[in-house]
């Protein structure tokens, strides 16, 4: 079969075979690396389900800006990654503290550890699995 034989009224979104899920994979990988760290630190206050929920929602606020904003900013890689990590830690501290009604210290510590862990491990996983 050559070309796309589907009727033209099917919207672009329905062409699942041509969808690009690479960014979604990157987001999910980063999220799954961070959730266990957050849960370890929040376990006295939040269930695993609640932790998964607020971590994923907060990450969806920060990760796209980190990924497409800071990393594509034109700064040197080192500058981009350091500013992006600071933004992620700050943003996630605020969002977690707001959503969970915890004081800022615990979310700050959790965000710092989780983001450092993710930054350390995620590039290595991408390299090992895809390149």
């Amino acid at each position: 079969m050559h070309g796309d034989t589907r009727p033209s009224f099917i919207p672009q979104i329905a062409k699942a075979d041509s969808m690009n899920f690479d960014y979604l994979y990157t987001f999910t990988q980063s999220n799954l690396l961070e959730v266990p760290i957050y849960f370890l630190i929040y376990r006295r206050f939040l269930t695993f389900r609640q932790t998964l929920l607020i971590v994923t929602l907060a990450n969806s606020c920060t990760h796209p800006f980190v990924f497409f904003g800071f990393m594509g900013s034109g700064w040197s890689y080192l500058t981009s990654v350091i500013i992006a990590e600071m933004f992620a830690v700050g943003g996630e501290t605020g969002l977690h503290s707001f959503a969970s009604k915890l004081s800022w210290q615990r979310p700050f510590f959790a965000a710092l550890v989780a983001n450092l862990f993710s930054w350390q491990v995620a590039p290595a996983l991408t390299y090992l699995f895809f390149l």
Binding site: Y23, L24, F27, L57, C61, F67, Y77, S80, T126
Partner: protein, 107 residues
Amino acid sequence: MKLSYEQKAWLCLLAVLFALTMLSERSGYSIRDLKTVNWDVVLMLTPSGIVNNLLLTPEHYLRPYYSQHSERGDLFGDPAMVVLLLLVGCMAILGLLSFRKSRKPIA
């Protein structure tokens, strides 16, 4: 049927994941394009790598892959990317607000 605030937050999460899928498609970002990146440098510039290599001064290694590799998908030149980003952010914040309402104050 009345949903609890936490259930509403989960619904927001579903919407967020859907929007992220659209963002993923729109961005044109491809992991396999990262093959030509100097991975020695990227892996060196991790937290442990920075501690060990404070004197390294890398240049713009990843920028083309995140923003200029394809003709579309540049955050600074594509309004659709900006709208999708704002959509993701708004729905995520809505979910977090719903979750907050489901929480009792911590003594």
